[in-house]
């Protein structure tokens, strides 16, 4: 069986500004009837490269060949002309439109007839086994439904080269399996599927070949059947690293934080947390899993005193005094002084934890400014702390006086976590601490958390990568639509079980 090349990239280079080289001299080929994975860490230029095929960016140097002929792809429209369709990581859908309206959006010519289009969409859905109501509005859809709309959108335009950017980042394991089935069906149909990912097990289970990028450079392509997880990691990172997270058994666990029947109602009057009860123990990592937006953020903020609680108690057992305090009646500053720390990494990393325009020292002072006694600021201690964090956590920065917005995501996260740990907390809450971080930085954060666990800190870890949660945590609590759907022992539970719990309440309603 000889396969026809669908896309060939030759010596592609793309720069942003004078200094940032997103892609340097990348050449690779994708064939019809195969799934090609583009593997690389965050910031390795995978998305930029694919954006050049789909017409969002234009390469500075190099050529693109589509089906053997040189092609100039200057706009997304050109890309459609070459039957190339891209499903972006951040969905490009209009919220107030129905699925059908989104799918026909931007198509030229022909009479505008939504009814006829709806029929065609239904036909495509049946062909590949999608489940979609074309008249449903996007804003009332789940993430996986939105993704389905995106995929049908490119199929409707007759794309036979599909590019998917991190398609599984927001899906449950069950949804992922379903998506992969669909993708395999398309591959057998002769379509060329390119999938961008940094998850190794997905690469191994789905793709035929893997191309690896590292820091904008093309490293190589291997057949999936002939490679292994460790070889791929080495190609991706450039050196051998140990992929196992050490998990020690909790020592002398004590109930540190007891949450009882917590209810929370958000600004719009919608219940975001519904009778949440759990216990966080010292020397233990409690993982929180759930589909994004199920109430994880509100839960952590409620404990930190940032969210109004409508009902329930948060009892904190102080290890020093042995007294039990109810955090519900306390201000964020009082809670923090008790040793409860929140390290929050929302999508906008610099939103709540650090001030982007201030340097590392000043950001350290955000926690300590109230301690000084004189009228002037005490700068010595924060500066020492900043230098210590830079040295201990290998923060890559020109100096302690660099504004944190100039640092890369991983380094920003190290500064934030470093500061929170330096205050020797008794409860450490982290949300998505490794989002957007490369493998090295991620493992450094995991090790930091483990060190804290050894010291007897109660850690609450909100994560999105179930594999990591299963390896790192002692117990995993699953939240679905603001309710606890299960608390499982991370050593015995399987990924599929967690996935089922994640969608549990969603299906009942």
């Amino acid at each position: 069986m000889t396969k026809q090349p669908a896309i060939e990239l030759k010596n592609i280079t793309k720069r942003f500004g004078a200094k940032v080289i997103a892609n340097n001299n990348v050449s690779l080929t994708a064939y019809h009837g195969e799934v090609l994975s583009i593997l690389g860490e965050n910031g390795s230029g995978k998305t930029t490269l694919m954006n050049m095929i789909s017409g969002i960016y234009f390469p500075d140097e190099g050529q693109i060949f589509v089906n053997g002929k040189e092609a100039v792809i200057a706009s997304p429209k050109d890309a459609f002309g070459f039957k190339i369709g891209m499903i972006h990581q951040h969905f490009k859908l209009v919220d107030v439109f129905s699925a059908a309206e989104n799918i026909v959006l931007g198509i030229d010519g022909g009479k505008y007839n939504l009814k006829k289009s709806t029929e065609e969409i239904k036909k495509i859905s049946e062909q590949y086994g999608f489940d979609l109501d074309p008249e449903k509005k996007i804003y009332s859809m789940s993430v996986s439904e939105k993704q389905t709309v995106e995929i049908i959108k490119v199929l409707y335009r007759g794309a036979d080269i599909l590019i998917l950017d991190e398609p599984t980042a927001v899906l449950t394991p069950q949804e992922t399996a379903k998506l992969f089935d669909v993708l395999r069906k398309m591959r057998d149909d002769g379509k060329c599927i390119i999938i961008i990912t940094h998850k190794l097990h997905e690469v191994l289970s789905l793709s035929d070949r893997v191309s690896v990028l590292r820091k904008g450079e093309y490293v190589g392509t291997v057949n999936t059947a002939e490679t292994s997880e460790s070889e791929l990691t080495e190609m991706m990172v450039g050196k051998k690293i140990d992929l196992n997270i050490e998990r020690s058994d909790p020592k002398d666990p004590q109930d540190r934080l007891v949450v009882k029947d917590l209810d929370c109602i958000n600004r719009d009057g919608v219940a975001v947390l519904d009778s949440i009860s759990f216990t966080a123990r010292s020397g233990e990592i409690l993982g929180i899993a759930g589909i994004a937006g199920s109430g994880q953020r509100e839960l952590l903020e409620a404990i930190a005193g940032l969210q109004h609680i409508s009902q329930g108690d948060i009892l904190y057992n102080d290890p020093k005094s042995g007294k039990t305090e109810n955090l519900r009646d306390k201000t964020p500053v009082q809670i923090r002084d008790l040793g409860v720390r929140l390290s929050f990494v929302p999508e906008d990393r610099l939103g709540m934890g650090l001030v982007a325009n201030m340097d590392i020292v000043d950001n350290m002072m955000l926690r300590s400014y109230s301690k000084g006694r004189s009228a002037f600021l005490e700068r010595k201690a924060p500066k020492d702390l900043a230098m210590k964090i830079i040295k201990d956590l290998e923060v890559v920065t020109p100096g302690a006086s660099t504004p944190v917005r100039r640092l890369s995501g991983g380094n920003v996260q190290k500064v934030l976590v470093g500061r929170e740990i330096a205050a020797s907390p008794t409860v450490l809450m982290v949300a998505y601490p490794v989002r957007g971080l490369d493998i090295n930085s991620s493992y450094m954060i995991y090790n930091l958390l483990n060190e804290q666990k050894e010291k007897g800190v109660a850690i609450i870890f909100v994560g999105e990568d179930l594999d990591v949660l299963l390896e790192l945590c002692d117990r995993i609590m699953v939240i679905g639509s603001g309710k606890i759907t299960g608390i499982e022992d991370a050593r015995t539970v399987t990924k599929e079980q967690i996935g089922l719990l994640m969608t549990k309440t969603g299906e009942e309603e």
Binding site: S75, K92, L93, V94, V96, F97, E101, L105, G106, Y112
Partner: protein
């Protein structure tokens, strides 16, 4: 008297209808054009300039004036004038990505100043001692009624007795509503206002849509200014007489929930509310002013009700007021 009240309400409502339909078109592309009062002002003065010179060219002799030209010249002038304003706005906000609010407010100030400047100059050119320009002849052509309107009693008075711009306003509003909701162009335009990145990825030329929407919207709004001077004010231009009608048109956009069909009803309701104080007996000066607040009070009530209902369809375009730059990372 009720018939007179209704006719008056419609007459007052038409400039608002033009203004708000123009603003709806613009806002659907994601651009909040606060320059609409200025655009309407410029539309009005451009029409005045056109008809002024046409009347002069005919030696102020109504017998020499051609009815069609007397209407078409001011109409085209108003459109050209307001489109130029729209172009200034779109160049600043789309191409240069300037702040939309600041640009819009500047354009309003500029438009009013420009109108007053030319208004003053024309007054001088016209000679005489008057502080206004009276183009009653042209206005006469504009307000020509349908010939059989008088014979149909109250029905003719309410529905058939208006100037042709009133009917044009309703037709434009209906067409805009149809285009927005039933055509591919409308779908694309709404997508540009909701999520330009999505529209861009779908192969829609975002910049072109924004330019066209702003300029067409301005042209429609400019006609509102023209209707005001020609039909409402009987061709008499006085500096600053246009008042705050432009702002009311913007309020009407919110009242109409960005739907041209609702704007038709809304504009006549606003017209009625503006005028109610003249038809209620025994109001003092102070209470009259209170009555003039009614349109704004109604807008605020509508805003409160919408925010309580929380229907996504009733919200403004999601990307309203925000610039779009494709390669932004």
């Amino acid at each position: 008297m009720i018939i007179q009240f209704i006719c008056r309400a419609i007459l007052l409502g038409v400039p608002l209808l033009f203004g708000s339909v123009g603003e709806i078109v613009t806002e659907k592309s994601g651009h909040l054009n606060l320059g609409i009062p200025g655009v309407m002002y410029v539309g009005a003065i451009s029409g005045i300039i056109g008809s002024f010179f046409y009347e002069q060219a005919c030696g102020n002799d109504i017998a020499k004036m051609n009815a069609l030209l007397a209407v078409l010249i001011p109409l085209l002038c108003a459109i050209v004038g307001s489109v130029i304003m729209g172009l200034i706005y779109s160049f600043l906000t789309v191409t240069l990505r300037a702040n939309q609010n600041v640009t819009g407010l500047a354009l309003t100030t500029f438009g009013i100043g420009l109108g007053n400047f030319f208004g003053g100059s024309l007054t001088k050119l016209g000679g005489g001692e008057a502080t206004f320009i009276a183009l009653t002849k042209t206005s006469g052509f504009f307000s020509t009624k349908l010939p059989f309107a008088d014979k149909l009693g109250w029905f003719g008075d309410i529905f058939l007795s208006h100037d042709f711009l009133t009917y044009l306003a309703i037709i434009v509003a209906v067409i805009v509503g149809f285009v927005l909701n039933r055509t591919r162009v409308g779908l694309n335009l709404r997508a540009v206002g909701e999520s330009p990145a999505t529209a861009d990825a779908a192969g829609i030329n975002v910049t072109r849509y924004k330019y066209f929407a702003t300029c067409i919207g301005s042209a429609i709004a400019g006609l509102g200014g023209l209707q005001y001077v020609m039909a409402y004010a009987n061709g008499v231009w006085t500096n600053n007489a246009f008042g705050d009608r432009g702002w009311m048109a913007i309020a009407l956009v919110i009242f109409a929930l960005w739907k041209p069909s609702v704007a038709i009803v809304g504009s006549f309701l606003f017209g009625a509310l503006c005028n109610a104080n003249n038809y209620i007996q025994g109001l003092g000066t102070a209470t009259q002013e209170l009555f003039k607040m009614l349109p704004y009070v109604v807008t605020i009530i509508v805003l409160v009700v919408i925010s309580m209902r929380k229907r996504r369809e009733f919200q403004p375009p999601a990307h309203l007021g925000l610039p779009y730059f494709r390669e932004e990372r």
